[in-house]
Symmetry: C2
Subunit: 456 residues, 2 copies
């Protein structure tokens, strides 16, 4: 076949280590702080929540960290994931640009999330943990941890943001099929959840609240640890396998991206596709040219674009350490948009840091523009993207249209982080004209920002 | 990695032709008959419904039929599909058997159906057809044709069995996202549909009725043809790419199946995995040993196990040609079970024929036993199977347990024809104990069989 569309690596070429960008940063990442003492966090502060191996990774500045063999044996069921050239989309757009997408929807849970769920479950099981708690928005992370926990004999309890719990019953069914227990958050199962419900009985929930509940349960039970699906360094680390593979696959294709695009909520998907490319630049050498790296977020929850770069809590209940990040304030409740995975008040400290260092750019879109792009993509490339991924599709299409206007044949790479099979009601809403763009409340944002903890 | 679980062929090894079992049958297939004259059908009788290239394939006895290059270019997005060794399931069952599964859920529509939807859409587009009509049960076929039609600029109208239309709104959303138009059947859009509704306003529908509606619209409109997702020879032909790949992949693995298993509704999935193996046997030579080939159907709709081998109509409205097949009678309405893709009164003539020739065996299961198997599979192998595929999973597990009881290390291959992402409400029902086994009505079956057309 003359016009190749698929670049599939043999499993023998699956990366054997994750890339740790902390090794190459020109300025080190500001440390997380203890919420009580405001002093930099030590490993023992994290011990109630995470196993030692994860804490080590969280603080490591080693450049390459080995992927354990049992983890690779699970990942290789769907990894290396395919890289596709979007030839039919290019034709539809009539663009001189070349568009490539790395497709993470091939995992059992249908997104990039198992890339971190599997090692997290494995490390916990190795250290004798019996149960994991976590939060989930759209359910991509919760289902991934339910899947991964089950593989290694762990019980998994998932606090799912109420609005997604109600909007996406099939995601919950998926979590339960894999043996996880799913609880709508805010819930009556935690002190914090009960406190929220006492004040707002109809609260639609938020990732910040669900994190507080999951952390509370883990902190109070010896056999239970907490697993986070994004934001933290070790989660971003596990996702770098995506970008590492993409670099090899684009070499196969004889191409090199001028623009690398990922959607970003907590930041793990974005870091997964972007950090290995930023690493090429930071380390210098033959591949060191500066590529444009674009993070795409929803206009309704624009932490990178509109947030403050400041120390803040990761959760609404103020139980987590303080981390320096772009934040809308931990009290901020984003509108109930369909890209539930992007409804988070903060941004991964590492993503925030590289933004401050000028290594990446950020943009945001309203959801109808994203679904419009998603339908164009589905009708040309076949795959129906997750609402989160539609943000990256929108940006890739806009870059391709810019190339058309400028007569440039640039190479665009984006991560298609997952499929939309569990989000079809959003497509029904869009196709029937019922989907509306939602904005955050400016007054609420101002209040949430004014409530940022005073540090330094 | 020592314990290999994935056998992925490079796209350069994707088959270049389909295997036509008609070339190797020891006894020729009884011909389809014209419903009026009861004489064998000529190509011109099919011309109102199908393009010439499809009619040629339907009647061909050539052993190998080339897959057109533009069709291969679409298929190679997800083909060759992976073959997996189910090592975690083997361990769970503690069986000495080796279990392999060929996974067809990697297509954009999530099942094997696009293997035929893509060539059918392409052949129609080549011959100037503007619109396709079809029927669909669970929606696997309708969504696949919607996807494939869109790629080649065809309008697609899908008559979906009412019970599935109501049970699976997300499948409909998928069809609409790809641009297809979905109509609940029986509908008011056809004479036949109106006649059924006049008699039974609350009819839950059946594939037989939906076929009548789709055929009627195609027959009455010059620019419109009909596309069938199973049963006919050319559809089974297109699916043989599955078994052809599996043969090569098992060679890679150094294995040869003792048992080959596929679920069967109309028969296309079963034929896809089975016919290439039956062909090895029929053609003789080094690979000619007799393997057990097992067709699995629902107890609620057991055409192979309980039907008569007789000439019957493919549809309830008696508009189609008469074909010789195992049938429960075209008036038979199967219970509204969750494996909507298996709710068909008949069986592919080619599958029925090889059953009569003693080349395959048949068995049937109730749906709760199938969902039990599906959940075991999901919790070990990760992938959540479609309800139809759960029938094959059940049979594979039972064969593996038989091997355990007998202390035999046989090799079992089954086709995992699709994922269950659009069927999660069925899993919710199963997990909450609400799923019940349904039986057909013996009296209704007797009546439907007594109504079989009198031929020869």
């Amino acid at each position: 076949m003359t016009d190749r569309i698929k670049y599939q690596l043999d499993e023998s070429r699956m990366p054997t280590s994750w890339y740790n960008i902390a090794a190459d940063l020109p300025v080190p990442l500001p440390p997380p702080l203890h919420p009580g003492t405001l002093q930099p966090l030590g490993p023992s502060d994290l011990a109630p929540l995470f196993p030692n191996a994860i804490i080590e990774q969280e603080m490591s500045t080693e450049r390459w960290i080995d992927i354990p063999e049992p983890v690779r044996e699970v990942l290789c069921q769907w990894r290396p994931s395919p890289l596709f050239r979007a030839r039919r989309l290019e034709k539809l757009l009539d663009t001189p640009a070349k568009i490539y997408y790395k497709y993470e929807g091939v995992s059992p849970a249908g997104s990039h999330k198992p890339n971190s769920a599997v090692p997290q479950a494995w490390y916990n099981a190795q250290e004798g943990v019996k149960r994991l708690t976590t939060e989930t928005g759209a359910g991509q992370w919760g289902s991934s941890l339910s899947y991964a926990g089950g593989l290694f004999g762990l019980d998994v309890t998932i606090f799912q943001v109420r609005v997604s719990y109600d909007q996406k019953p099939y995601r919950r069914a998926l979590m339960e099929t894999w043996g996880g227990r799913c609880v709508a958050s805010p819930s009556n199962e935690t002190e914090y959840g009960r406190a929220v419900l006492a004040q707002y009985p109809d609260h639609i929930g938020s990732l910040g609240i669900a994190i507080s509940e999951a952390v509370e349960v883990a902190a109070k039970n010896d056999d239970t640890k907490y697993a986070l699906g994004s934001v933290l360094n070790h989660v971003l680390l596990h996702q770098t396998i995506v970008g590492e593979e993409a670099i090899t696959q684009l070499e196969m294709a004889g191409d090199d991206p001028d623009v690398v695009i990922g959607c970003t909520g907590g930041g793990s998907n974005f870091a997964g596709i972007a950090f290995p490319f930023i690493g090429l630049q930071l380390r210098g050498g033959a591949n060191a040219r500066k590529r444009r790296i674009v993070a795409v977020e929803p206009s309704a929850c624009p932490s990178l674009s509109r947030g403050q770069y400041a120390y803040d809590f990761g959760d609404t209940g103020r139980m987590t350490p303080l981390v320096k990040m772009h934040t809308l304030g931990s009290e901020f409740t984003p509108p109930g948009l369909h890209a539930g995975g992007l409804r988070y008040h903060g941004m991964a400290p590492l993503v925030s840091h590289v933004k401050e260092l000028g290594l990446i750019e950020a943009r945001n879109y309203h959801q109808t523009a994203c679904f419009e792009a998603g339908v164009m993509f589905a009708r040309s490339e076949g795959i129906v993207p997750a609402p989160e991924s539609n943000h990256a599709v929108r940006a890739a299409i806009d870059e391709a249209l810019r190339c058309k206007a400028e007569g440039k044949s640039e190479t665009i790479l984006f991560c298609l982080s997952g499929h939309g099979h569990f989000d079809m009601s959003a497509y029904t809403n869009y196709l029937s004209g019922k989907l509306v763009d939602q904005d955050y409340d400016e007054k609420e944002l101002a209040m949430a920002l004014s409530g940022l903890p005073k540090v330094g």
